[in-house]
């Protein structure tokens, strides 16, 4: 089985490489006197694990169900105005299922280097890598630290429909300060996100978990260093069919207000050495109301069982990588996720931590191959999506070791 998986992955990646080669020259065309650039990327991975199945894949048997890609077009209309859009698709286990998504699409008016405005569907600035998390060609890793950048939640964190105000200030020899302030809505994802975790716990969303958001990011850069702080605050209302309050299905409205994520981060990029660390917290206050009236004594039972939830989680990582030459980069990271910080951070249910080692091989400037080992302790809270799902795990084991091979092309 494993042999078949890797043969399939090899065939797919070779085919993708052949398809990508002719377009590696960065195609562009002219429309109404303006250059329109087209760029894209395509990634294929394969995972073999022992212990638990990962990311809704049958990874214990070996799975090559790990494909994603994007195509974008953009044009600089005037010196100050640019427009563009990107479509993205993925199929990672049961996540995405090849449904194309409008990843971003916006008009960007940059009045000067100090202030600009973007409007439309805009990538969300949160921490070091949120807005670039799916550009695997930027990173040493096949998978970014999942304690902070979980693949399951990519589609409900990556971008918002709304507007950004952004800019920067040059501090001369003191580096630069860049800021982003934004507001809008983050649409729910019916093929991943929070839905699968909720469903696996015997519940279901009756409406979309759309978030109204505002937030900001400020970062200082200079001398190879970047350090910054991000805040994202949202509210959401969602109707849920639950079996956890009564021994029969019952519809409630969950009112999440406020829902706050904070990120504190730093990165150093030298010519060959890259070091990074990020600390992320999430706080969510969630109240419930019954959608239909309840007779006594059920109303009293509901008031007790459906008490508001004050939820806090935290995750962090430290990473380091070193480029040996034009073709080889080696790296390692450690990350840790605690689903409920009000309880003791002990595994396997209230802790997920992993040590990861990676070799990145750059075959050409547009084609890379990554080989990565994950050594995961714990599985976290399975109702909250961070890799491990009941739908592919009848029971859970306390640790999981994984081999991840991923190749990517971009033009």
């Amino acid at each position: 089985m494993l042999r078949q998986v890797f043969i399939r992955a090899a065939v797919v990646t070779t085919a993708l490489g052949a398809l990508s080669a002719p377009v590696a020259a960065q195609p562009a065309f002219t429309l109404a006197g303006r250059e329109v650039q087209i760029h894209g990327s395509l990634q294929q991975g394969a995972v073999k694990s022992d212990g638990n199945n990962y990311l809704t894949m049958s990874s214990n048997e070996g799975s090559a169900s790990m494909t994603d890609g994007a195509v974008n077009v953009s044009s600089q209309i005037t010196k100050k105005l640019r427009v563009g859009a990107q479509f993205y698709f993925r199929n990672i286990g049961q996540l995405g299922e090849f449904h194309p998504q409008l990843d971003w699409a916006y008009a960007d008016f940059k009045a000067n280097d100090h202030v600009g405005v973007r409007g439309g569907k805009v990538k969300t600035a949160l921490g070091l890598y949120n807005d670039t998390q799916d550009m695997e060609f930027l990173y040493t890793w096949a998978l970014l630290p999942q304690a902070v950048y979980p693949l399951d939640l990519r589609s409900v964190t990556i971008s918002h429909v709304g507007a950004d105000v952004y800019g920067g200030f040059d501090l001369k020899r003191g580096g630069t300060i860049n800021y982003t302030v934004y507001g809008g809505k983050i649409p729910d994802d019916p093929n991943g996100g929070y839905l699968y975790g909720v469903q696996d716990n015997g519940n279901d969303f009756l409406t979309s978990l759309d978030q109204t958001v505002f937030g900001g990011d400020v970062r200082w850069s200079g001398h190879g260093l970047t350090a910054g702080y991000s805040l994202l605050r949202s509210t959401a209302k969602v109707d849920v069919r639950t079996t956890q309050i009564f021994p029969f299905p019952f519809n409630v409205r969950a009112d999440v207000k406020p829902w706050t994520r904070r990120a504190l981060y730093a990165e150093y990029q030298g010519a060959k050495l890259r070091l990074a660390a990020e600390y992320r917290t999430e706080n969510r206050f969630q109240g419930y109301t019954a959608i239909q009236p309840l007779p006594p004594p059920l109303d009293a039972m509901f008031a007790q069982a459906g008490a508001p939830l004050d939820f806090s989680a935290a995750g962090w990582f430290v990473s380091g990588s070193y480029r040996l030459n034009d073709h080889l980069e080696l790296g390692s990271y450690f990350d840790r996720y605690v689903p409920d910080t009000k309880q003791n951070a002990v595994g396997p249910k209230n802790l997920m931590e992993e040590t990861v080692v990676t070799a990145r091989i750059d075959l050409t400037s547009w084609w890379n191959l990554k080989v990565e080992g994950h050594f995961v302790g714990g599985f976290g809270d399975t109702t909250y999506p961070h890799g491990f799902y009941r739908r592919v795990n009848q029971t859970f084991t306390n640790s999981t070791d994984m081999l991840v091979i991923r190749t990517g092309f971009n033009f």
Partner: protein, 138 residues
């Protein structure tokens, strides 16, 4: 010991200035500045700055694989070619920027910079820079 250290430092300084002297920075005559700070030039070629301190809007133009290209990236931008292209891809795939124009020869760079308002590029010191403005790097 001090003499040895002095000689080493002097050789390093001579080597660095020799490398910088291999490159001349050129711009379209529409660019107002006659000189630009090295840090400012770096920001322009990283896409984080689109105007110079005198208010001139600028567009960076890259060379390809020539000695001037390698010297410029190493001495001014501080990145390898691969790292620079990766940096611009991060802008392209978030919609925050375009890939800069790049040309294979000094002649093509000079021709493009001469005809494109705001264009700023670099060529080897010996290249014929007719029709463009030479920019001093402070």
């Amino acid at each position: 010991m001090n003499k040895v250290l002095f000689l080493v430092l002097a050789c390093a300084a001579l080597g660095a200035s020799a490398a910088q002297a291999q490159v001349q920075v050129i711009a379209n005559p529409s660019v107002g500045s006659a000189s630009v700070a090295a840090d400012e030039l770096k920001d322009v070629f990283l896409g984080s700055k689109t105007t110079l301190s005198d208010g001139s809007a600028v567009e960076p133009v890259l060379g390809q694989a020539a000695a001037a290209h390698e010297d410029f990236l190493k001495d001014v931008v501080g990145k390898s070619e691969q790292a620079l292209r990766t940096h611009f891809k991060s802008l392209v795939f978030t919609g925050k920027g375009s890939m800069p124009k790049s040309f294979a020869s000094d002649g093509e760079i000079v021709a493009y910079v001469a005809k494109t308002k705001g264009a700023i590029g670099y060529v080897s010191a010996s290249a014929d820079a007719a029709g463009v403005k030479k920019i001093a790097v402070k």
